[in-house]
């Protein structure tokens, strides 16, 4: 951070102002300067990585609890090291049975977490994740829309993550504010984080402080700025374009642009259903080089023999439709097709938000 070699740090000017704070927190616990500095860097890296998922007012509190977590994990490490020093001769990692134990513990945690969900939530989640039912058909069953079902699934997953961590920790939340706070963190819902004053609670509650890291630092999977819609049938085309519209709307695209994006997604998703039978559409929000939305449509179909020809208007290999690719290209700002015979096709297209 201090090297100043990155001129694009302005996007997070608040991070630099966290440095002295983090230094003080770490410095109060770790006295060896080089170790402390390493921990400061690690803390800042973690905070930086989660910054987009937390509301700005929470950043300071989150930096404090992260610094605290980082320090205590160092202590645990040192402790383990001390305890293991007598077996210097045998530096192999401790007994494999631990792994089994760990696995069964996790299994149990998942079961207990699932038990916390309502019958209806559990049914919906399992139908989607385990039985592979698409959101469209679930929506039909519920008398709802595919977009609403997708949002519902996201909320259920966020809850499941919370319940799972609680079960794994064998912990019952000490206050009735814990669950709402953990849920807001898990869903990456910044408005809700502000409403429940998550920042303050993290400083006051040891349990939530500890669980905040795994909730906020989980990887790409479950990111709230990306959705992936499996495409198998007609219904998924509608689900994909609705999900794309909902996600892109968060970036403040104009209504016209939202409609262009949704229409383009509809075209490429239909190509998958018609040509390849199975594939997926991934919609992702971009921050750099400027705000925008990227759509990647992949399939494992037969591939396109002549991409150039397929991009020409009027080209059609199935009844009545030739506009798929060239049409979608006209609606987006950037468009690329990669295809390999026998392997499949990937269409990548981007629309940038206008100022």
């Amino acid at each position: 951070m201090r090297s100043g070699n990155e001129p694009d740090s302005p996007a997070q000017p608040d991070i630099t102002s966290l440095i002295p704070l983090v230094r003080r927190v770490v410095g109060a616990r770790v006295h060896e300067a080089t170790v402390a500095e390493d921990l400061v860097q690690e803390t800042l890296t973690r905070v930086l990585a989660t910054a987009p998922r937390v509301e700005p007012g929470l950043l300071e509190s989150y930096a404090i609890v992260t610094a605290r977590n980082v320090v205590s994990s160092l202590w645990r490490e040192q402790d383990r090291h001390r305890r293991n020093q007598h077996r210097v001769v045998d530096l192999r990692p401790p007994d494999p049975p631990d792994t089994d134990l760990l696995a069964s513990e996790e299994q149990g945690a998942v079961t207990r977490a699932l038990a916390q969900l309502s019958e209806r939530e559990r049914h919906l989640l399992l139908a989607h994740e385990v039985n592979g039912r698409d959101t469209r058909s679930l929506a039909g069953e519920q008398g709802s829309t595919a977009g609403a079902v997708a949002a519902q699934l996201n909320r259920i997953r966020a809850r499941l993550r919370v319940e799972y961590l609680l079960a794994l920790d064998n912990a019952e939340p000490p206050t009735d504010r814990c669950r709402p706070v953990l849920l807001a963190l898990s869903g990456g819902d910044r408005r809700r984080q502000r409403e429940v004053d998550a920042g303050r609670h993290l400083l006051e509650c040891e349990l939530c402080a500890r669980l905040s890291s795994p909730l906020l630092e989980r990887g790409r999977q479950g990111r709230d700025d990306e959705v992936c819609i499996p495409i198998h049938s007609d219904g998924d085309i509608v689900a994909a374009r609705q999900a794309a519209r909902e996600l892109a709307a968060r970036l403040g695209f104009s209504r016209t642009d939202l409609t262009l994006i949704a229409t383009a997604v509809s075209e490429v998703a239909r190509n998958i259903v018609r040509f390849a039978e199975a594939g997926e559409v991934v919609v992702e929000l971009l921050e750099r080089p400027r705000p925008g939305v990227r759509v990647v449509a992949r399939d494992t179909g037969p591939g396109i023999a002549d991409v150039e020809q397929a991009m020409r208007d009027g080209y059609s290999t199935y009844h009545g439709l030739g506009l798929g690719l060239p049409g979608a290209r006209r609606l987006m700002d950037e468009f690329a097709v990669a295809s390999e015979l026998g392997r499949g096709t990937t269409v990548t297209m981007t629309k940038w938000r206008r100022r």
């Binding site: 090297s3 694009d8 000017p13 630099t16 927190v25 605290r68 400083l203 006051e204 040891e206 100022r355």
Partner: protein, 312 residues
């Protein structure tokens, strides 16, 4: 329930120091700062030439401010350096804000981006920090105190500059947009079910886009049956804008409105033909007067028929 008292103090302490010097008092959490800053400032003044030079080199090697000539760079960096030190010295919020505003106003017209401004201020912060490090490296305790005093002050400057720069930029952009909007075209409801859209001035993509949204939503709110687009005042358009115009006309038809285009210049007609528009399918009439007469006639009876678009 474990509640770290010292952590809460740290947190609130930071808040005080980052919001705080406006009162200008020498007591409280900032007193170490107040005692050390004069020493700092003296050091920075003493090595002004060398440090400024070093900073300018860092700016160049980072590829920042490449829009400026070397002379401009020297002038700007000198003035920014002096002001920076002054703000460190006085610590007054007004001076800091004045400095940031001044910097933004001078620098925005040169097409400097936000990341560049923040980048150069952060570079200056680091160049100065390094020089302090060298000066005090033998006395570790002193070094820590000096850096603790310097860092919040320096970060405060960087943050204020960033915020002010973004504000100023937004203001400039808003101003530009307002003047564009003034220039750009209102959708005029002339009489029931009839809209006129007189376009005057240069049509670029951004304006064409605004125009489309205005017109299409205008059709719905005024329940328009006929639209006259008069482009007598448009000197020329490029192909992208011409294409956009054609899409707008076709989209209007899909909403149930007939479109008449008046004042089509030979140049624009040529561009339309170049992008493959079949002019015989567009309802074009020489001048606005003729267009209005035609519109009235159309309002007597009408159903629209979406004519083919330029494509297949």
């Amino acid at each position: 329930m474990s509640y770290d008292q010292d952590l809460m103090e740290t947190a609130s302490g930071t808040r005080t120091s980052s919001g705080g010097r406006s009162a200008g008092s020498g007591t409280g959490p900032g007193s170490d700062e107040d005692e050390l800053l004069p020493q700092l400032v003296a050091h920075l003044r003493e090595h002004r030439t060398k440090l400024r030079q070093e900073w300018a080199e860092r700016i160049q090697s980072s590829g920042l401010l490449h829009a400026m000539t070397p002379q401009e760079m020297t002038a700007e960096t000198t003035s920014v350096y002096d002001n920076y030190v002054e703000v460190l010295e006085t610590g007054s919020v007004e001076a800091l804000q004045r400095y940031a505003r001044d910097l933004s106003e001078r620098i925005i017209p040169r097409g400097v981006e936000t990341h560049e401004v923040v980048g150069i201020v952060l570079l200056l912060r680091d160049v100065l920090a390094r020089s302090l490090f060298e000066k005090y490296q033998r006395d570790f305790g002193m070094l820590n105190r000096v850096l603790d005093a310097y860092e919040p002050a320096a970060n405060r400057i960087a943050n204020t500059v960033a915020v002010s720069f973004v504000d100023e930029r937004e203001r400039v952009i808003r101003q530009q947009q307002d003047s564009i909007r003034e220039l750009s075209t209102p959708v005029l409801p002339v009489r029931e079910r009839l809209l006129i859209l007189p376009i005057i001035g240069v049509l670029d993509s951004e304006r064409a886009r605004q125009l489309t949204e205005q017109l299409l939503t205008g059709i719905r709110t005024h329940r328009a049956k006929v639209v006259v687009i008069d482009i007598t005042g448009v000197p020329d358009v490029d192909e992208a804008v011409a294409d956009h115009l054609v899409r707008t006309v076709d989209a209007s038809r899909l909403m149930g409105a007939s479109v008449i285009i008046t004042g089509l210049s030979p140049e624009i007609a040529q561009t339309l033909v170049t992008i493959g528009v079949d002019l015989s399918k567009m309802d074009t009439i020489g001048d606005l007067q003729g267009g209005l007469e035609e519109a009235e006639r159309l309002l007597g009876f009408s159903v629209t028929r979406g004519d083919g678009v330029s494509g297949p």
